[in-house]
Subunit: 384 residues, 2 copies
């Protein structure tokens, strides 16, 4: 096991009715910016439940945060929040709204130039507004970590940043808020959580049985509960189990003491930035290619994954790995997610262009920093 | 899954050399009380490493905290800490030292009468001194929770209390500090951690696959790594894996959203208070009896435990449960721990006396509050 420091201070209120915790959680604050997405929370009653808790507060609303939250949109929120001098940000939505809110939280007090540099140059910031969340779509784990991914439309770039100051003070996870989600979002969420676990698990052995088995626990749960959720999206327990698995998938716990990869995510971000592929979809396209191209480097963990997660035990190791990759892709397909670039209208020429951009950025991704533009090309070419 | 609120703010520094984090962690504090046990830290070098980090501080030492830390001893520390006006408590040791330090932390500012009432009457307290820990014996999980168990010798009572204010600010977990531990302490630690997991797992189903599989992950790890640790107590990775499993076993995570039992611990505390049986030993004596006596109530989880942890799958369910109980007792024995009361010189008359004390206290233990004095008698009588 590698050395690590682990701390996660976010207070989780999990379960039906837990939105009622907001009033008490917000007691120390006066002027609250309420950030949300396209307005679905106004249809499904979540907005009303939240506003009931905010009666005693000054509330500045900022709706319209997109999937893949855009710098351009978020800077408008930053301007309003500065003018209004809000002292707390409440994100109500999925990972995009929460990620966007984190950027707003960091950008409001940022006074060392253009806040874009927080993303483009990892510019340091020493202050951030406190934030809380009401999660309505399990997927990204953003409700219990300090990370965010932001898109800048004009540059067609999707970049990540993180800081422990951006850990939500609290997050409300009420599985009932999921009842009105469309299948596509549920499927993307399950796939996203699954791949989060894989990024922190499918690397190389460092003798870490607790972390390995925790990761496998989450994978097995998502394989079992994900398709059940799509069949019966209003089953409370299924919603709850997917929600908790997705939160645990990316809150810093399973990665403590082990290497992590993230090549699938990095490549996926490019597909989203250039072609508008949903984040979850992009991961399902890329992961089987990463598993196959890096099968030697990841051999030990691939065999363990095959055996413990898919119950595949073959004398022929290569065949076992093949079967595990096929089972993983089959799982994504069972969620209704297409896993080939062609199915999204992405051509060999598009892959060439994407890789030329990465060539220019001189990337070195993955747990061994050996996923370069050439490697990405191999990965994507087998996903056509 | 049940509703829950979960938060754990303790910062964990895990790995070799992490004692070097102390200097920075202690920067905000001025006068530090250093609490430890029988002095083994002076033999194994841990004391020296810690003192190196405390050079710039005023340090008040308080050694001599016993296994099963005694109220009488701890009140001496409280007196000194008050006189010296220390502003931080640093516990260096195992669960007993850390538990004792938590009581000291709560008792120092307590001004509503005798601090014993914190234990005997769950007296409320609203302040506590901040504390940190350097863990040297994995077992109790006290390094990452707000709970403690304290013994009052004159009453032969061992009582538990807890408060989130007593969560350590930080805990240093360096597996190398374990190298000089005697086998008996290692075995007790593994058994204690194992039973902690069982208390939060072996209850009844509430459809909680993440929590169940996390618990099984810890059980499987302890079954695999525990005996390996006794064979090779200076293997770094084995020490590390047992240490992390023991911390994760009782930090509030696996119990979030599920029922918990604790009858085995409550009964074990009586054996320790009356007969001086080691805490870990007491649990190994009691647990098989709890599993057997409550086999109907715990049937679903017992079968899952049999299958997933011990790979026992029998057509005859009662036989499967019998085998799982035997495997559990066999695991304790494989650690070198005797699991029968007679092996500790405890007689049927002793059991009668113990149960008469519980009768007087009108106990209702366990996840269904149905473990009363009569039930305890059945459990212990089959453990003679």
């Amino acid at each position: 096991m590698n050395n690590f420091t682990y701390q996660n201070t976010t207070r989780i209120h999990f379960g039906k009715g837990q939105i009622a915790r907001l009033e008490r959680e917000l007691m120390p604050y006066h002027k609250i910016m309420l950030l949300y997405g396209g307005g679905s929370i106004k249809q499904n009653g979540v907005y009303h439940q939240v506003m009931q808790q905010l009666k005693a507060k000054q509330v500045i609303e900022f709706g319209g945060i997109e999937a893949n939250p855009r710098y351009e949109t978020l800077m408008k929120a930053v301007g309003i929040a500065r003018t209004e001098q809000v002292d707390f940000l409440l994100a109500v939505g999925g990972g995009s709204v929460i990620d966007g809110t984190k950027f707003v939280a960091a950008a409001i007090p940022f006074d060392a130039g253009d806040p874009w540099t927080i993303l483009s140059e990892y510019a340091k910031f020493t202050k951030a507004l406190p934030l809380g969340t009401v999660l309505t779509l399990p997927a990204t784990g953003s409700e219990m970590n300090g990370n965010a991914v932001i898109t800048r439309e004009e540059y067609r770039m999707k970049l990540a940043f993180g800081n422990k100051m951006l850990l939500p003070v609290f997050s409300v996870l009420d599985p009932e808020t999921m009842y009105s989600l469309p299948s596509r979002q549920l499927a993307n969420g399950v796939a996203d959580a699954f791949v989060h676990v894989m990024e922190q698990y499918l690397t190389y052995h460092v003798n870490s049985p607790v972390q390995d088995r925790f990761a496998e626990a989450l994978l097995l749960t998502l394989i079992e509960q994900g398709p059940a959720l799509l069949r019966n999206p209003k089953d409370y327990d299924t919603c709850a189990n997917v929600m908790w698995a997705a939160t645990m998938a990316l809150n810093g716990l399973i990665v403590a003491g082990v290497p992590d990869d993230w090549a699938t995510h990095m490549i996926g971000h490019e597909l989203t930035a250039l072609h508008g592929v949903d984040h979850g979809q992009s991961l399902c396209i890329v992961l089987p290619g990463v598993m196959n191209q890096l099968r030697e480097q990841k051999r030990g963990k691939l065999l363990q994954f095959a055996q413990r997660v898919w119950n595949i035990k073959k004398d022929d190791e290569q065949k076992g790995i093949d079967d595990a990759i096929a089972a993983t892709e089959g799982f994504f397909n069972s969620l209704g997610i297409a896993t080939r670039l062609g199915e999204y209208g992405i051509s060999p020429a598009d892959v060439d262009y994407l890789c030329s951009r990465l060539e220019a950025r001189d990337i070195h991704w993955g747990e061994c920093k050996n996923v370069d533009a050439e490697c990405v090309k191999k990965i994507l070419n087998e996903r056509l």
